[in-house]
């Protein structure tokens, strides 16, 4: 294979763009599938983040007064508890659509990144919970579990970037 004809110089610059991988956890935000995934997830996050933040801020206040339990009325806490799995499920569904739209190598990288994120999440979660329990004597999983979903997204992006550099 010594007589390889020269081709476009752009051919050598063939890695996936770093910014899209690290910022959004996708290979490109310029492809139709990438754009759609990014746009829909942004809307979903916007719908979720504001009420979730408000809930996190007021969570202890609500628990202390037991207002969301004792009155038997739907409260902000209930609304967030319902909203969270719906939006997370929607994001996962969109992610599935996005992954299915990828070619075989990109799909393999996404799946591999998810597998590593799952393993990392288990290990990090166990370590954090142990530290937390040791220092506070209790675990408050009410906000930890939903927050973990979002905290793992940068981990997935990091794994995706790392894995994509092999090719």
């Amino acid at each position: 294979m010594n007589n390889i004809p020269r081709t476009s110089s752009n051919d050598d610059d063939s890695r996936w763009p770093r910014s899209a991988l690290l910022m959004y956890g996708v290979f490109s935000t310029r492809t139709p599938a990438g754009q759609r995934f990014f746009r829909r997830c942004s809307i979903a996050y916007a719908i979720l983040i504001l009420p979730t933040l408000l809930f996190l801020i007021h969570h202890h206040h609500y628990v202390a007064r037991s207002s969301w339990v004792s009155h038997g009325m739907p409260t902000f806490g209930h609304a967030t508890a319902i909203l969270l799995p719906i939006v997370c499920s929607y994001i996962l569904l969109e992610f599935r659509k996005y992954v299915l739209s990828l070619d075989e190598l990109a799909r393999r990288l996404q799946v591999e990144a998810m597998a590593w994120t799952y393993a990392s999440g288990l290990i990090l979660g166990a370590i954090l919970c142990a530290i937390w329990f040791e220092s506070l004597g209790k675990l408050d999983l009410a906000w930890f579990c939903p927050a973990w979903f979002f905290l793992l997204e940068p981990v997935r992006a990091g794994w995706l970037y790392f894995l994509s550099r092999r090719y």
Partner: protein, 71 residues
């Protein structure tokens, strides 16, 4: 697995982007196959063979097997 994809592509004056479009994959995938970092699936290997009008074994060969001819 080794292959003569880069030679075949260049002989036909195709860029990686052109070939990727014909195959329905990303340019990065074509590059990964050419550099031997990624072995394509059987359906993709068939597609590649069809694009160049060759048999799969004329493009791809096992590392310890007969070399790909690249004709």
């Amino acid at each position: 697995m080794k292959n003569d994809l880069r030679v075949l592509r260049a002989k036909r004056h195709l860029t990686q982007a052109n070939l990727a479009e014909k195959l329905g994959v990303s340019r990065q995938t074509v590059n990964a196959i050419e550099t031997g970092k990624y072995d394509p699936s059987l359906p993709l290997a068939f597609k590649i063979a069809r694009v160049f009008g060759l048999a799969i074994e004329e493009i791809f060969a096992a590392e310890d097997g007969e070399p790909a001819t690249g004709n």
